[in-house]
């Protein structure tokens, strides 16, 4: 199809070239962008790519970014990020007044695909290895026999081994779809694709099994078997990774509760709102950084962590001082008061920030994904796993090694004894509750990266958080860790089998049954202290 278009375009140029008034065929191609029809734009892209004009990559880049503008006299301009205007062909700054009727060239998915394919052709020999790699990928994904010579010459010139491998795979893909390629070449290509071993290779091989040549078809079938086996393993590993990722989210959501509920015994129904406060703090910090230091926007998240800890922690201390401290020894009444509090906090956020979702951006280092063997690891989830583990380690350290941690444990184990040893129990209570709330706030920073930042944010995690803490065993941070991870993995292993809804129900029922077997969770705190 594309070959046909290119031919057409060439014929068109030939015709135009005969016209002395239009000395430059590329200028004519460019007028095609003024059309409002996607068909015309697509044709122009193909023609531009085929022309090999030096300005083509810049023009196509601008087009895909939505920066290519066309004036009413069909002249093309490229708009810079700073609002400057350059002539598209020459790259020179546009002089004089703003051309009349300037508007962006319209782009849709079909046009974007055409751009990708064109860029794949144009950047095969780009000096930038990253661009060559993506060129190879685009050739691989849309194998076009007409491009075989270009790809082969690219392989010959390539020095970077990773890029070279990508080109070779692209060549293999092209050979497989090329009907007149010799069987031997095809079988070699199959070998190369089998080594690649991913879903894309599998779909190409699937198509090859229908090949007219029995030898090729057999080779493809053989390769497929191997790929399917390894894919099954990878898919199981992927599910476990998903589970760990979900587990780390649960861990973050629950770990603050493991302190306020697990250690202090306060049934804090407003815990979710502490998480929500953290997420809103992230929003505010990000907005502030965007205004104050736009260059640092990517690191706003790093700043948001201490900010969220302070905001939620301060809120926690305020709550402890004004409400919770009057309710010690009446744990179930803390449930009622904090439930009321959670209603108030939700509505407060709604009044201040509005009821809609707020936009918290993923920083660039948390966007996208990488492939690790057959695993797709998304950066945001990957960072969240690391973050959760780090927070857990830090918290364990605080509880074990610091004076506050020691006093905290003393107060929770024997309040009267601690008081008589000169520990200011009220003060320790406040700080403990503040710590738990602050950690919940930090969780909010992480959750803002994967979920809605809205007044309802906390509500969606509160039940899961309580499950995790109770499952792990109240008063035991390690229990919370193991609890969160096992619930996460169980959920994700069940999901492909039973579906998301049924999977979750099954996990809940198992949890209820588990508590019947072990009424004090995975890691119960044993001994006489809990018996009395």
């Amino acid at each position: 199809m594309r070959k046909f278009l290119v031919t057409c375009a060439l014929v068109l140029f030939a015709a135009l070239a005969a016209n002395p008034a239009a000395a430059d065929p590329v200028e004519d191609i460019l007028t095609g962008f003024a059309s409002s029809k996607y068909d015309d734009i697509e044709k122009s892209i193909d023609a531009l790519a085929a022309s090999g004009d030096a300005a083509a990559p810049a023009i196509l880049d601008a087009l895909s970014a939505g920066d290519l503008q066309v004036s009413s006299d069909k002249k093309l301009y490229i708009k810079g990020d700073d609002g400057s205007l350059k002539e598209a062909r020459s790259g020179a700054d546009a002089t004089g007044e703003i051309p009349p009727g300037l508007k962006a060239v319209k782009v849709n998915n079909r046009v974007r695909r055409a751009i990708d394919a064109a860029m794949g052709q144009l950047t095969l020999l780009s000096p930038d290895p990253a661009k060559r790699l993506s060129a190879a990928a685009s050739q691989f994904h849309a194998p076009d026999p007409a491009q075989l010579p270009a790809v082969e010459s690219a392989i010959a010139k390539e020095s970077d081994p990773a890029v070279k491998r990508a080109f070779e795979q692209a060549r293999a893909a092209i050979i497989l779809v090329k009907s007149d390629a010799p069987d031997a070449d095809k079988i070699a290509a199959i070998g190369l694709l089998a080594a690649r071993g991913d879903e894309d290779a599998k779909s190409l091989l699937d198509a090859a099994t229908a090949s007219g040549s029995p030898a090729v078809a057999d080779a493809a079938r053989g390769a497929l078997k191997g790929i399917e086996r390894s894919l099954a393993w990878w898919s199981a590993a992927q599910n476990v990774y998903y589970g760990l990722s979900l587990g780390s989210v649960l861990l973050l959501a629950a770990i603050g509760l493991a302190i306020t509920f697990g250690v202090m015994g306060v049934i804090n129904m407003a815990h979710g709102e502490m998480v929500m406060l953290g997420a809103y703090t992230t929003y505010v910090v990000q907005q502030a950084v965007m205004v104050a230091a736009p260059g640092l926007t990517d690191y706003a998240l790093v700043l948001a962590v201490p900010a969220a800890f302070l905001v939620s922690g301060a809120a926690g201390i305020a709550i402890e001082r004004s409400i919770i401290r009057f309710l010690y020894g009446r744990p179930l009444e803390t449930l009622l008061a904090t439930f009321g509090l959670s209603l108030v906090l939700q509505q407060a956020m709604r009044s201040i920030f509005g009821p809609t979702n707020l936009q918290v951006d993923n920083p660039s280092w948390m966007s996208g994904s990488m492939d690790l063997g057959g695993l797709a690891i998304t950066y945001n989830r990957f960072w969240i796993i690391l973050f959760a583990v780090a927070i857990f380690a830090l918290l364990t350290l605080v509880l074990r090694k610091t004076a506050l941690g020691l006093q905290m444990r003393a107060v929770t184990q024997n309040r009267r004894m601690a008081a008589s040893m000169g520990i200011r129990t009220g003060w320790v209570d406040s700080l403990t509750f503040g710590l738990g709330s602050g950690v919940a706030g930090i969780a909010g920073v992480a959750l803002s990266q994967i979920d809605n930042v809205s007044p309802n944010l906390g509500q969606s995690y509160i039940i899961d958080s309580f499950m995790v803490v109770v499952f792990g065993g109240v008063g035991n941070l390690w229990g919370t860790l193991v609890g969160a991870m096992s619930l996460g993995v169980a959920n994700k292993l069940l999901e492909p089998v039973a579906g998301a809804v049924l999977g979750k129900i099954v996990v809940l029922v198992l949890l209820v049954l588990f508590i019947q077997r072990r009424p004090r969770g995975l890691f119960p705190v044993k001994g006489r202290a809990v018996e009395s």
Partner: protein
């Protein structure tokens, strides 16, 4: 495997461990019918854990626990053991604070405990008489209408003993009955226990040596979950090991 025994309570080789710590370590302990026994030992010696094993609260990891030579205490739960005829008084006085003194006793009276029987139970004249009798015994007649939560510490201890009596058990386990009592009350309590012992078997756990001396019965010394010495108070007091772990310090 178990030998037939004529002891009322028979513990042999009982081991209980919490997270690796052995609260009871191959403990053997035998009480004959009609006997009164005092159990002493330092903190953490396993006295309360032993009571827990006898009353079904804690399951031993190993060992035998028999009541009347036939009932396997390791297989029964608290309520079943209570119905068998073992009554227990806690270290901290535990009564139903929101109930009146008479109601506390009423709930403790021997009788069918099944929910559907209790549902239609009416207080009978004989029950009332029995309650009056116990109130006299534990000297709480004057406060019979008060809520148990309003009683003094000593009165609560006595009320709990009264509830034990109302249960009419064969064996009474009494955990630190005189903690927090005045000297006079302590003497009265010793007196009360001796009277109870006339018809029932009693095991008393106590720290108070004057009280133990006043009881004047056979003493078992526990240490680190097993029996260190057994005999009369004078006998065990003379034992150097006992002196070292307990009395000497």
């Amino acid at each position: 495997m178990t030998e037939v025994t004529d002891a009322l309570l028979y513990l042999d080789g009982v081991t209980v461990s919490f997270d690796g710590f052995k609260a009871l370590n191959t403990l053997s302990f035998v009480v004959a019918p009609g006997e009164m026994r005092a159990v002493i030992g330092p903190n953490g010696a396993g006295k309360t854990t032993m009571m827990d094993v006898i009353t079904g609260k804690t399951r031993p990891d190993q060992g035998t626990a028999l009541f009347r030579g036939s009932a396997d205490l390791t297989k029964l739960d608290e309520a079943e053991i209570a119905t068998l005829g073992i009554g227990r008084k806690f270290q901290k006085p535990t009564v139903f604070e929101m109930h009146s003194v008479t109601d506390n006793l009423l709930l403790a009276l021997k009788g069918d405990r099944a929910p559907r029987r209790v549902l239609f139970a009416r207080e009978t004249l004989s029950e009332r008489a029995r309650i009056d009798e116990i109130l006299e015994t534990v000297r709480l007649s004057a406060v019979r209408r008060r809520l148990a939560g309003e009683l003094s510490h000593g009165q609560k201890q006595w009320l709990e003993i009264g509830m034990l009596l109302a249960q009419e058990p064969e064996l009474l386990l009494v955990d630190e009955p005189v903690a927090g009592m005045t000297d006079a009350e302590t003497a009265d309590t010793a007196d009360l226990l001796r009277r109870i012992n006339q018809t029932r078997t009693v095991v008393v756990v106590e720290h108070d040596m004057t009280f133990v001396r006043a009881l004047d019965v056979k003493v078992t010394v526990l240490h680190e979950g097993s029996v260190l010495a057994e005999g009369s108070l004078d006998h065990v007091s003379a034992d150097p090991r006992v002196v070292e772990v307990y009395l000497g310090r």
